[in-house]
């Protein structure tokens, strides 16, 4: 357990440009239409920025033209819209005489200013073994090492029945890759062993990151062996809804933004926070985005409030990155993270008592797991 974390010295462990750029970072991904500029509060060495979805490539060009020269990614987000088949696992333009191949798609991203191109993978549904195999084979054949391959799969791939298959497949992909989990709502609450099994994946698969997670899942992954992680700015970028399903949050889309509450390590809707603190003073936030703001103020459906909530969320977890990365060994990092989770669980219980609303803040299943699962050293697991 005295080993340094896998991301602590990327230059020594990895020679690829992708590894050098990504290792040891927790990136923020946003929808292109919500972005005017790259948020100024991103941690200079431990974070980075990316855009996901239609228009991502055009937006990063605009950002580059505007002078932004830090880490920047553009993910087509094909897995949000299309399921992979045995014939098509990547989403490349069809019907074109020129430029309808993967290499051109990747070169386009580089030409527009992406630091590392992102392979336009499609979504792999639960139990679609042949499709997953095809994705692994196609990924293996990508003849360049400066790419990231998102592997977007239904969260049930983390179940015991499919876990070894998932790990074996990911291990066969030599490139930098990242796992994105699909499910309506938070995928990690789907079944009890999701957190434990995601840790197993992260510890056993080299060159693997988490793609489009929330803050707790991303930090947990980093503590347990992930090379990097990506957190979505809004709820739709913190998981993947298996296509062709429509996100249930869009039926209709009238909810207030989700707001990250630092000391509870939880996201709550602005409306929910305002309701719970209707009779008491809500927590105030002094993050780089908020300055000084009560969390109940995110109780609005207006676009600028949504943008402000997303900025708050990212600024808060960016402020935690020094804590996450400030450890000499993986074991120390895990102890620190477990302490954060235990404190958050206690805080939710204490805050519910304080506002005299039992169960107002109930720790989620994954957070409870993160607080209670044994450390890797206690479980005899990997020390990554």
């Amino acid at each position: 357990m005295t080993e340094p974390p896998v991301w602590s010295s990327p230059a020594h462990r990895q020679t690829s440009a992708a590894a050098r750029a990504l290792y040891g970072r927790v990136l923020l991904f946003a929808r292109p239409h919500f972005v005017k500029d790259v948020p100024p509060f991103l941690h200079p060495s431990r974070s980075g920025f990316g855009l996901c979805g239609p228009g991502a490539d055009a937006k990063i060009k605009a950002l580059r033209d505007g002078g932004y020269d830090e880490l920047l990614l553009a993910c087509p987000g094909a897995y949000h819209a299309k399921a992979a088949t045995e014939d098509e696992v990547f989403d490349v333009p069809s019907g074109r005489l020129f430029g309808g191949d993967l290499d051109t798609v990747l070169r386009d991203q580089l030409d527009r200013g992406a630091t590392i191109p992102v392979v336009p993978t499609r979504f792999v549904h639960a139990g679609h073994l042949a499709v997953f195999n095809r994705l692994v084979r196609e990924a293996q054949e990508i003849n360049r090492d400066d790419v990231i391959i998102p592997v977007a799969v239904d969260v049930t791939w983390l179940r015991d029945e499919f876990l070894r298959k998932l790990i074996a497949g990911l291990q066969r992909i030599p490139h930098i890759k990242a796992i994105a989990l699909g499910r309506q709502g938070n995928p990690m609450v789907t079944f009890a062993k999701a957190t434990e099994n995601l840790r197993t994946v992260m510890s056993e698969v080299p060159n693997l990151g988490l793609w489009l997670g929330d803050q707790p899942t991303a930090f947990d992954s980093m503590a347990y062996g992930a090379a990097f992680a990506v957190i979505g700015a809004g709820g739709s970028l913190r998981h993947v809804v298996p296509p062709p399903e429509e996100p249930e949050s869009n039926k209709p889309f009238n909810h207030t933004p989700s707001v990250f509450i630092r000391h509870m390590l939880r996201y709550s809707m602005g409306e929910y926070i305002a309701e719970k603190y209707a009779n008491s003073r809500a927590p105030r936030c002094y993050c780089a985005a908020c300055g000084d703001r009560g969390l109940e103020s995110f109780n609005s459906r207006r676009r600028e409030v949504r943008v402000a909530a997303q900025a708050h969320n990212a600024a808060v977890w960016n402020g935690m990155l020094d804590g996450l990365f400030g450890h000499q060994t993986a074991a120390e990092c895990q102890v620190w993270w477990k302490g954060c989770c235990e404190a958050a669980v206690r805080e939710q219980q204490a805050e519910s008592r304080r506002i005299e609303q039992p169960g107002a803040f109930k720790p989620s299943l994954p957070l409870t797991k993160m607080a209670n699962l044994p450390l890797a050293s206690e479980a005899g697991g990997s020390d990554q």
């Binding site: 639960a126 239904d154 079944f191």
Partner: protein
Amino acid sequence: MAHPTMLVLARESRGMTQAQIAARMTELAQGGPVSQGYVSKAEAGRLAVTGQRLELYGQAVGYPVTVLCADPDVHGVGVGLVHHRKRASLGAPTLRRIHAELALSRMQVRALLRAAGSTRQHGFHRIEVDDFYTPAEAAIEVRKEWGVPSGPLTRLVDLIEDAGGLVLVRDLGTRELDAVTQWADDEPPLFLFNVHAPADRFRWSVGHELGHVFLHDEPGATTVQERQADEFASELLLPAVDVRTELKGRLDLNRLVELKHRWGVSMSAIARRAATLGVITEWQYRNVMIEMSALGYRTQEPGDIEREQPYWIFNLVARLHQDQGYDVSEIADLVGLWPDEFQALYQAGDAGTQHEVNQ
């Protein structure tokens, strides 16, 4: 002269103890008593069983003396891998009885094949699996190899027989074991299924045993082997790609009965598959199981499905009778059974009708 191994096999196949054999021989002899010690020594090969004692022994165990005198090496008794699907509570004596019955069934079927001049070709082979190429993918491979279209696999026993497998359904005298298989490499695999298993569980057992045959060339009912055989059966009978969309929506008990009729798999297995594929949550799965328990469905499910029957061996017997002119007692003698038992085991119905029903 009796062969000691065959004496043991014959006795165990009847589920009798040495003392019971001795008592039965004494009763039949109407003369001097036969002791358990005598039977013990006979089975250990420390004394020769011939003449009148041999006849008595045959009557006591209910087999012609030819069975007791068979050379187990020549007849390949005990050769080949044996797998079974059973409950943990099944006792060792019952398991020994069923294994003995399996060994004798193999001898009987071999005799039928020899008499018919049939060298049964088969398409069974081992499939290597590992973490990446999983038992479920082996099942997909088998479906493709056997030309099974997507959707429900309606005639599983027919498929096994078409692939050259030998299938028998017997009263195994317990409800704690559903199936047992034996496969020696130079012969087709023999599947012995319990008539007491409900039709849906019967089909799952068939899929499970097929999994063993394709996946496992090592003996031993390890947890890993059993899990792999179940994964094989699950994908064989409920292919993920086909079934996932059908499982969506409200999965209540009525819907489970409908799905049971369509896929020929128990309601509980369908609910389990739905949870595995993430179509329902663990909480929903638990609720369905609680509801099924409360209604007694865990022991007796509603929604009967048609029981599959084997036909190939029955047809073989019919051919021997009709085409080659053997009468029942001659065929019974060939296979080493008394005519009454032979008729009960191998002529349970008209062979032609059996296949017609299956089609």
